[in-house]
């Protein structure tokens, strides 16, 4: 779909590489640029010589699944030669993506004004945690820091507990999806006008739409939103209930009085309460929740989910990773695709989340190895000869193995 779009990806970790993976999955050519000494930290943030000798850089699962369908070259950007080669590459590209903290690229003389000299029509997506401006623009952050800084934890969990994080790196995935969106808008504009531009994306601000009910409660309703646990103040019952087995649960969401009447007729203890209105259900929610839990804990989760769904009730078991692998729906949708990859063998990849018609988008290539496409890109695209390539290797500007 995006054949003909070319992206140079300087980003590392999860957010930036996910933003470009989405484009690569859709057919764009994405060239990942690392160096042997400054390799993607998603390969490891605790690299040791033992890890290098064991080819650890090629075995990091998080790296493998977020960098599929890409090409990879190494360039020491701290050297003049490496920098010049990057500028040559940028000259023939649509967009550059980076997620360094603010001071890194200016130090390397590779910030947007410098890159634009090499390619006046360049799009550059910069996606640091706090954005490219403001007093915190150079502050360091991971996906977890992003979630913490967004205030979202103050909306999650129970009032008597700590503000609650939802994920080890919530900000990364959401930042990545937003990065894809921003690039696509800029690419559309470029195809229409020939004009590139700088995109300033703040990963923290990417989480604000997810906190919108809380933010709007404060700004529009003038009420401080509580951490209200399972009571989301709209529908009732809306909660998580135990089912048979150790740490097994089902989520049930009754949205209308009609659904309540159906649901209550299925639970012996609730059968006399099927005329309750929403307000009445909310008022006696503790009692209702206890009755539902007593009933649900005697049932198999999958069987109960199917029975409730057949009765038109929104219900879902709380899946773990094994459930996701075995789940009939995921299997019927072709959730996982398998690709052979050097050092790690056959590896699963989640399918892209869109399909045109009924067919899943096929994943073409596994993640590249470090510097796998050095020769192809430096020779075929940038016109270097074999001797020049050998020289770059000898001087450590390119390579295929990390160095500490």
């Amino acid at each position: 779909m995006l054949k003909g779009v070319r992206i140079v990806d300087l980003s590392m970790g999860w957010a930036g590489p996910l933003s470009t993976r989405n484009l690569a999955d859709l057919g764009a050519t994405v060239i990942k640029v690392e160096s042997c000494t400054n390799f993607d930290w998603w390969r490891s943030w605790e690299a040791t010589q033992e890890w290098i000798d064991d080819d650890g850089a090629e075995k990091a699962l998080p790296f493998l699944y977020v960098n599929r369908n890409k090409l990879d070259i190494t360039l020491d950007l701290e050297s003049n030669e490496g920098r010049e080669l990057l500028l040559k590459l940028v000259a023939s590209t649509d967009a550059v993506v980076e997620n360094f903290s603010g001071s890194v690229l200016p130090k390397l003389r590779l910030d947007y004004p410098e890159l634009k000299k090499a390619n006046p029509e360049l799009i550059m997506l910069s996606m640091p945690a706090f954005g490219a401006t403001g007093p915190w623009k150079d502050f360091r952050a991971y996906g977890s820091t992003v979630e913490q800084s967004s205030g979202l934890p103050h909306l999650v969990g129970h009032a008597d507990q700590s503000p609650t994080m939802q994920h080890i790196a919530y900000g990364d995935s959401i930042g990545g999806l937003n990065g894809t969106a921003a690039l696509l808008i800029a690419l559309w504009h470029k195809r229409q006008t020939g004009e590139g531009q700088f995109i300033d994306l703040s990963q923290v601000e990417c989480l604000f739409p997810l906190s919108a009910p809380g933010i709007l409660s404060q700004s529009a309703a003038k009420e401080t939103p509580p951490r209200s646990g399972h009571d989301q103040k709209i529908d009732c019952p809306h909660g998580v209930f135990p089912v048979q087995g150790d740490d097994r649960w089902i989520f049930i969401h009754i949205k209308t009085d009609q659904e309540w009447q159906i649901f209550s007729s299925l639970v012996d203890e609730l059968s006399d309460l099927n005329d309750l209105t929403l307000v009445e259900r909310q008022r006696m929610s503790d009692k209702l929740f206890a009755s539902i839990a007593d009933w649900s804990c005697q049932q198999d989760g999958q069987v109960l989910m199917k029975m409730l769904q057949q009765n038109g009730i929104a219900a879902a078991t709380l899946n773990n990773s094994d459930d996701l692998i075995e789940n009939e729906h995921f299997q019927s949708r072709g959730y996982l695709q398998w690709l052979e990859r050097a050092y790690v063998g056959n590896q699963p990849h989640p399918s892209p989340p869109w399909r045109n018609g009924t067919e899943t988008i096929k994943i073409k290539e596994p993640a590249p190895t470090l510097g796998q496409h050095n020769a192809e890109i430096l020779k075929d695209w940038l016109g270097l000869n074999e001797a020049e390539l050998t020289g770059l290797k000898k001087r450590g500007i390119i390579g295929n193995k990390p160095r500490l």
């Binding site: 913490q148 559309w188 989301q232 009924t358």
Partner: protein
Amino acid sequence: MNSAAHSALESMRVIDLSGTVATEYAAKLFCDYGADVVNIEPEEGFQTRLLPPFIQGTSTSALHAYLNANKKSVSGPIEKNYLERFLRKSDLILYSLDDHKAMEAISATSANQCCISWYGASGAYSGYKGSDGCIQAMSGLMRGIGAPGEAPIIPPGYQAQIIGGLSAFNGSMAFLLGQLMGNLDEHFKLDCSILEANMCLTDLGPINRLNGNEIPPRMGINRFPPTYPLGVWPCKNGWLGVTALSPSQWKSFCQLLDLDEFIDIDFFDVSINRYMSIDVLEPAILKSLEEKDAEELFYRGQEMRIPLARVPTMEELLEIDQYKTRGAFTPIKSDSKAFLAPSSPFRLLKTPAVDHRVLAELGEHNGYLDKL
């Protein structure tokens, strides 16, 4: 819009037939960058008009206003052939699989379509009922949140649908771009599953499992093995967000908290070792934090290159200089009242998002289809 600026998507027309949080968020992204977005609403309006929070002293949903500012609203009975003619003149039609009227309207229409559904338009659960909680349960996100032995915690709001809408925007934009580039010469019909969009948060679980790795059970609030310290902790004044991944970040964190006794212990250089030693480390960390100011620790920690965070309440969030100076929250006007809402989280400097946001009244643009 920014008066001097050009809007990137101003040549596009996008129709929302269903008005779910997911379709509206996807359409909002088009609208923010200049597309002409038209809501075709039933007489009573889209269901999002009923969702809290409401603008103080009114019955207007602030959430609906946030999702629909600057869109056109057409409502009431529309004759089928008339609607079809209009749909054919559009670049993209967004609708929900649960919306039978929309399904009927688009069935004979030749136009680009994006169907957003909870579980996808095919597969074993395609007919299942959904909600944000169902998606968070089924995707595996929910079971990791909360204390062991207690019911997992439900993420609040409409996060799953926002993620689904964002992902559907990406798919739709990519296919529209493919058409523009000559890579696709026919209309597309995208099937966007909110569940599959949300799997980007949890995909690593099954991948790890299929590689023989154990998946840790729910370990507790703000517990994310193998990383430690990572979480939200109380200080003398406010809450501090901590992530210390690398050995140097850990040592600096110890220095910041005056926990010198841990700095030179090589064993603690490795994150999983720190996680396994929570019983030793956490009491010391908590004791040190309770005597210190969160804001001061945040700034000193960032100076030391430790990724620390202020964890603001919603009230504090709206007053933070970093976000105010960037215009992270801008006003929306509705019912002659204005309130702050999140701005576009990315800024395209030459084609910025529209920054003047007004909510149309239901049916305000009823004559609009005649003009096209």
